[in-house]
Subunit: 284 residues, 4 copies
C-alpha cells in the first residue's frame, strides 16, 4: 500500500468525516497547515464533519476550541461527538427523572439539555431513600470525581438499583503529551462492568451508531449522498478505519497520530484492518 | 415489572420490529395464533419488519418460509437480515473480484447478487497462485463445509493474504429442538479471529447497524417516523432488547423463546438490560 | 447434592485448607462458633492452613487479626497468602534493585523483607533519570494511593521502561459491609493491563501456584500427604472450589459467604464447578 | 538484551526444562546438532526434562518419537506433558465411572491407565439413559472426531449433565509446516466454553501446575534443587517464558521457533515478558 497525497484522494468525495485528535490537532495544537485542507474543501464544495469520541463538553464548546485556534468555520453543527449520542439515548430512553453521572459539571450540563436532572455520584448518599428515582448512570469524563470513592459508590448504587449505564466515550486511553497517555472513562467503564457483571451501553467510534448519526446529519439539509461519496479520515485503525469500513464508506489512514509511519504497514497486516488509502497527513 | 398483554402496548406504536425465532416461530413451527397479531397490525395500520440474524438465505427465501406457513403477507421487503448487511458491505467495500466463503451454496448465491464472484473455501487450493485475487472472506452459515478442513484452510489463507473477514451472523448458537442447540457461525468466527489475531467485521443484532438498516427501510416509502414511534419485540435480552434500547427505540421482551418466564426478572436484574415492557407473547 | 454437616466430612482428611473471608470470618467478625472447628481439628490431629488472596499485610499481621479475636492458635505459619507468592517471585526473579508499588506502606514493608528497596508510585517522578533502576512494579492493595494520579503514572512508567508487573491479589472486588463491595487491586490491574497491552503476573486463588505453595508448606515438617488426604473449604465456586478441584484435592463449599444457600445449586449447575461436598458452614 | 551462546548460560544450572516444538524439533525434524546439547548436559551432569503441551499420546509414545530420531536418552521419565496432568486430575478427582472424550483413540488409551472407562463423544447417543454415568469430558486432541457433529453433541451433553470438562492442551494452534498452522484443541475448548458458559479446567504451559509437576519430578529421586538452579528454555514468550518466570525459575528464549530473530526484541518490549537470556538456539 503506497502513501498518496491527501489532495489526490479527497476530491473524489462529496463529504469527508475527520477524526479530531491525531488528524486535525495533537497535544501541541493544530496540525501545521491543516487550515489549507478546509480552504480546499470549501473551494471544491466538499462537506465535512468532525467525529470525535468526546463527552466532556457540548458540541458548542468543542467547536469553540477550533474557533479559538483560528478555524472559525468549524461550528457546532460540524461536530459529531459520542456525547451527542449519549444525550440522544437519554432523550429517547430515559426522558424523565434524575441521571447520576461520573464526569465534570460541564459534561453534565450538556446532557441536562434534554430536560433531565443530573446528580454527580459524588453528591449521592447510598442510604438516601430517594435513590430509586435515579433512572440511569452516565459516564462522561475521567475527570471531575474521585476515582476510588466515586467508582466504588457507583458500583454499589448499581448493585442496589437496576438502571442502564451509558458510557459516552469508548476510548480506553488518550494522549496528554508527546510521551504520556491517561486512562479514559471507557477503561473505567470496562472495569466497573466486569465487577457488577451488567451490560453497559457504549457510544463512540468504531460503533456504527456514531457513523450513522453523522450520516443522518449530512442529510439534514436535504442533500442525498451515497455511502461511496463519503470518506472517513482517521489516525487509528481500530476506531476510525474499522468503523468507517464497517459502515460502508471509504477510509484514509493518516500518519500524524496514533499510527506511526514506521509501523503502519505492519499494523494493517497484523490487524487485518485495511484502509482504502494511506496518507502522510490530512493536509492538502 | 409486570407482564402486560401485548395488545395493550402495540397500538401505541406506528412501526413494530419483530425478532423471528422465539417470537414468531420456534423449533415446532409458528407460535400458535401469531397470525392474529398481523391481522391486528393491518387493522390498526401499524407497519412491521422482521429483524433476523440469518445469512443462510436471501430475504426472498426467508420470506417464503413464512408464506409456506400461511403468513403470506410476510414478503421479502418485510425482512431485515444480517445477511443483507453483509451483502451491503460487499457492495460498497469489496465491489470487485472474488469473495471466499464459509457456508452453503445457497448462502453464497445471495451475496453474489452484488456482482461478485464467490468461491467456497472448500474449493480453494492454498497453493493456487491466483489466491491474491480473493478480496474478502465472508462467513455465512455453519453448514455447507467441513469444519476441520475448511476452518484450518481459511485461517491459513488469512495468514498469507490480508483481507477483510465479514461475519454475517453474530449469534453464538441456535436452537435445533426443544432441548438442543447447535454452534452458529458467529462462534466459529470468534475462534478463528482469536487464532489469527485479526479484527473481523460482524453484522447482526445487537449491533446498531442492523437497527439502522431497518430504520432506513421504514422510511423508504417516504414516511417519517420518530424513534419513539417504533417498538422492538424480542425474546433475548442480550440481542433484541439491548440492541433496541441502544438504538433509542422502545422494547418489549416476550417469554416464548430464550427467556423463560421463571427467569425473566432475575435476568433483567442481573444483566441490567431493562425492556420497556414484558409480555407473555407477541400474540394479541 | 445434599447439604452435609461439616463434622461428617472433615475427619476423613488429614489436612484442611480454609479460605478466610466468608468461611472463618465475615464483615461482622468471626463466624459464630468457628473456634469449635479448630478445637475439633486439634482433637482429631488434623492439620490446617488458611489460604487467602491478600497482599495488604504480612502473614504475621494477618495471623494477629485472628489472635486478637481469640483464635490464638492461628499463627503466621498457618497463613498462606497471595502476598507470600508475590514476595517469592521478587526473591527469585527480581532479587536486586528497586521495586515500585501500588498499595499501602504496610504492604510494601512485607515485600521489602527479601532485601529489595521499594518506592511508592506516588513518590516517583516520571522524569527522574534513575527510573531505569526500577526492576518491577508490584500491585499490593487498592488503598494507600490516589487511583487517578498513581494509576496514570504507573501506566506511563510501564510505557517507558519494560519491567514485570506482579499482581499480588487476583480478586476483582471484596465485601466491606453486608451490602457493599469495593473494587480490589485485581480489577485495577486488569484495567492497566488492557491499556498498556503487556502481560501481568498474577498470584492468588484459583491459580494452582497458590495451592502448590500451601501443599509444600504442609510438607515442611517432613510429613508426606497424598492429595486425596487434603480438603479445601471455601465459599466461592470460582476461586476456592475450582482452584482446589484443579489442583486435585477434595473441595467443600460452605454457604456462609459469597454463595447464598438459595443460589448454591443453580450456581453449581450453571458454572459447571462441582464441589465434592456442600455444607451450611465450616462449624462442626 | 544481547544474544548469548546457550553454552555460556546452561552450565550455571543443575536442571534444564526444554520446550519441545521450536526448541528441540520443528516441522522438519530435529533442530540440527541438538544432540550435542544433550551430550554436553550429560558431561556436565545437568538434569533435563521436556515440558510439552501435548495430550495426544502417552509419555512413552512421545519419548519414542525422540528415540526414533536417535535421541535414545529421551525416555518416558524425561517427558512432562499436559496429558499427564489431565490424567492426574482424572485419577484424583474423577476416579470412577466413564469419561467422555474428544480426541483420538490413542489419546484416550493413555487416560484409561488410571482405571477409567472412556467413550468417544462420537459413540454417545444423547438419548441414552446411561449418560448420567459419564463423570467428565476430557478434550485430548483436535483429531479423531468430526468437529461439527461431535462438538455439537458435546455441548448438548454438557447442557443436560453437569460434569467437569478437562482441557488437556491449552495451545490455540500448532504449526503443521513451514507456513501453515492448525487449530488446536485448546481453541475448540474456548469456543465450547463460551457457548455453554461453564468453567473448564485447563492443563498446560504457561500454567503453574505444569511447572510444578515438573519440579516434583525433578525431586523424585531424592535430590533437592532450589528454583534458582533450574532453567526453562523455550521459543514462546507467552507460554514457556511467562510460565517459567511466574514459577520463579530462570528463562532463556531461543529463536528457532515461534519467536523470529527480527521480532524478538519488539515482542519482549510489547508483551512485557522478559526472559533472563536470549539465545540463537539451544544448541551448544
Amino acid at each position: 500500500m503506497d502513501i498518496i497525497p491527501f489532495k489526490e484522494i479527497v476530491d473524489k468525495y462529496k463529504v469527508v468525516f475527520f477524526d479530531a485528535f491525531g488528524v486535525l490537532k495533537n497535544y501541541k495544537g493544530l496540525i501545521p497547515d491543516i487550515e489549507k485542507t478546509f480552504d480546499y474543501l470549501r473551494e471544491k464544495n466538499i462537506e465535512f464533519y468532525i467525529l470525535t469520541n468526546d463527552a466532556s463538553r457540548s458540541p458548542e464548546e468543542l467547536a469553540q476550541s477550533y474557533i479559538d485556534k483560528g478555524l472559525d468555520f468549524i461550528t457546532a453543527e460540524k461536530i459529531i461527538s459520542s456525547g451527542m449520542l449519549a444525550r440522544e439515548y437519554l432523550k429517547y430512553k430515559v426522558n424523565h427523572g434524575t441521571v447520576a453521572y461520573l464526569g465534570t459539571e460541564a459534561s453534565a450540563h450538556y446532557v441536562e439539555t434534554v430536560g433531565l436532572k443530573t446528580i454527580s455520584i459524588r453528591d449521592i448518599d447510598l442510604e438516601d431513600e430517594n435513590n430509586h428515582l435515579i433512572n440511569a448512570l452516565v459516564m462522561l469524563d475521567d475527570e471531575g470525581f474521585d476515582w476510588k470513592d466515586d467508582i466504588n459508590k457507583a458500583i454499589n448504587l448499581l448493585r442496589r438499583f437496576n438502571m442502564p449505564v451509558i458510557v459516552a466515550n469508548t476510548d480506553s486511553a488518550y494522549p496528554v503529551s508527546k510521551e504520556e497517555v491517561a486512562i479514559a472513562v471507557g477503561s473505567l467503564a470496562d472495569m466497573m462492568e466486569f465487577v457488577v457483571r451488567k451490560t453497559f451501553i457504549r457510544f463512540g467510534k468504531p460503533d456504527a451508531q456514531m457513523f450513522n448519526f453523522a450520516f443522518q446529519h449530512v442529510h439534514k439539509n436535504g442533500s442525498i449522498y451515497d455511502k461511496n461519496e463519503i470518506l472517513m479520515v482517521g489516525d487509528s485503525l481500530n476506531t476510525d478505519i474499522i468503523g468507517g469500513n464497517k459502515f460502508g464508506i471509504d477510509t484514509a489512514l493518516v500518519l500524524t497520530g496514533n499510527t506511526l509511519p514506521k509501523n503502519a504497514l505492519i499494523q494493517i497486516e497484523s490487524s487485518g484492518i485495511i484502509p482504502n488509502y494511506m496518507c502522510d497527513s490530512a493536509v492538502v
